[in-house]
């Protein structure tokens, strides 16, 4: 039997819990999954890399014995513009390995000259992080300075933040993941242009990664929310080396300077550093379980950012 997982029509960080809930419900008995995106109208970079992470997890857990060779199914969006955008964003290039795709996927190259600053890109090893950082700098420089009004010097900080976000996959996930970077006009929530970094994997997640070194300290409070709090707020790492844990702290510093936002979802919790212009909540627990970690970083156009 095949279980259906509906992809929200507007698929972004806000609708991700709805998707995670459907995924958790469908995946619990180990049947083959069908991700239904035929009615998708829009997906943010977070939605796209999150969908890939779901495909990765479904491949790992599918089949009653676990670890099925049978790929999950994916019905592609039927709307031509949506389909073209997902293709330009590099989604189908990665999805082809994970899903058995149903629907006509256009033969469009992943974007090289557009608001897609970095198409969906796999991150499996340090070498991939080098490639990501190298590719992003020239293109991000123009967008950050001319369109977002950031000081040109901010470009290097942006590359650092991107590098550290990607390294979380390499160092902690225990599996590969994906990153995507895009600039767009965020009419609905901010009426400004933003640059968004989305990183997702279906690996072990923050709680599992930090458990050996942190669980005793938190006692009965230990769980996904406590692990995220330890990593993002307290800057702890699973490594005992005192220099570890710098990455997320560095991202926070960068975002504080540019009024940006970071949100990390892992397991059943989500933590966010919420700027004044956003109405997100700092910490949510008891969410539908979703494997690995999903990171969202938003840097808004500079100038007045009305809450």
């Amino acid at each position: 039997m095949t279980r259906l997982v509906e992809v929200p029509a507007q698929f972004d960080d806000r609708s991700f819990d709805q998707f995670a809930s459907a995924f958790a419900e469908a995946a619990k008995d180990g049947e083959r999954l069908l991700f239904d995106a035929h009615a998708a109208e829009w997906a943010s970079p977070y939605g796209l890399v999150g969908l890939l992470a779901a495909g990765q997890a479904a491949r790992g857990t599918g089949g009653r014995g676990g670890g099925s060779a049978e790929r999950p199914l994916l019905t592609a969006p039927t709307h031509a513009d949506v389909l073209t955008y997902w293709t330009r964003a590099g989604f189908f290039r990665e999805a082809a390995e994970l899903f058995e795709i149903h629907g006509k996927v256009p033969r469009v190259k992943a974007a090289e000259e557009s608001d897609v600053l970095l198409p969906v890109t796999p991150v499996r090893a340090a070498e991939d992080v080098h490639a990501v950082v190298s590719n992003i700098q020239q293109r991000a420089s123009a967008i950050l300075a001319s369109e977002l009004g950031l000081d040109p010097k901010a470009t290097m900080g942006f590359a650092m933040a991107l590098s550290e976000a990607c390294q979380n996959i390499v160092e902690h996930a225990g599996t590969g993941g994906w990153v995507a970077v895009q600039a767009y006009h965020w009419r609905r929530r901010l009426a400004k242009r933003v640059v968004v970094i989305a990183v997702a994997d279906a690996g072990v997640g923050f709680r599992h990664s930090l458990e050996p070194t942190q669980s005793k300290r938190f006692g009965t409070r230990w769980g996904d929310a406590a692990a995220l709090e330890a990593a993002l707020i307290q800057g702890v790492s699973r490594f005992r080396d005192p220099g570890r844990g710098q990455g997320l702290a560095g991202i926070r510093r960068y975002l504080a300077r540019w009024d940006g936002k970071i949100a990390i979802r892992s397991g059943t919790a989500r933590i966010a550093i919420v700027p004044k212009w956003d109405d997100d909540v700092p910490l949510k627990d008891g969410l539908p379980a979703f494997p690995g970690a999903q990171v969202l970083i938003i840097i808004p156009e500079q100038g007045s950012t009305k809450p």
Binding site: Q137, S163, R244, Q246, A249
Partner: protein, 145 residues
């Protein structure tokens, strides 16, 4: 004799002939180990080593920690960083402050500045003068002696 180490060249030789960025811990570790080997085999007196970051693109926090902080902790002599851009400083300063360490940066005009934890930075400059490794210019700034 002051030892000179070209980090860009080390990166190109040891990790990648393509990339110019110091990102990821594995890269930082390999580059640091190469620098340590170069320092160990150098014929200089070992008192001062100039680490040149010219032509290095981005440095992330992981590499700042893996290279600069760990070299400072492991090396008894004085490290002087040169070719440091504002972007490089953005990664290096907070990492050193977190470790309560400081390092010398040599500006293009040859004057020295200590960055990192304020207490460690002050002690570093004071120690340089005491050991006569640096001298004060008429303008009051420090340069290597």
């Amino acid at each position: 004799m002051i030892q000179h180490i070209d980090v860009h060249a080390v990166l190109q030789e040891s990790v990648s002939g393509v990339y110019t960025d110091l990102v990821t811990r594995p890269t930082g570790r390999v580059v640091r180990e190469c620098i340590e080997r170069a320092m160990a085999t150098d014929a200089g007196d070992g008192a001062i080593a100039r680490i040149d970051f010219t032509r290095v693109g981005c440095i992330d926090y992981s590499c700042a920690d893996e290279i600069v902080a760990k070299l400072l902790r492991s090396r008894p002599g004085v490290l002087v960083l040169m070719g440091i851009s504002d972007g490089h400083r953005e990664a290096i300063e907070p990492v050193l402050a977190g470790h309560r360490l400081a390092v010398l940066i040599e500006r293009p005009d040859g004057t020295l500045e200590a960055v990192g934890a304020p207490d460690a930075a002050a002690a570093l400059l004071e120690g340089l003068v005491t050991r006569r490794l640096a001298a004060r210019t008429p303008g009051g700034t420090l340069t290597l002696a």
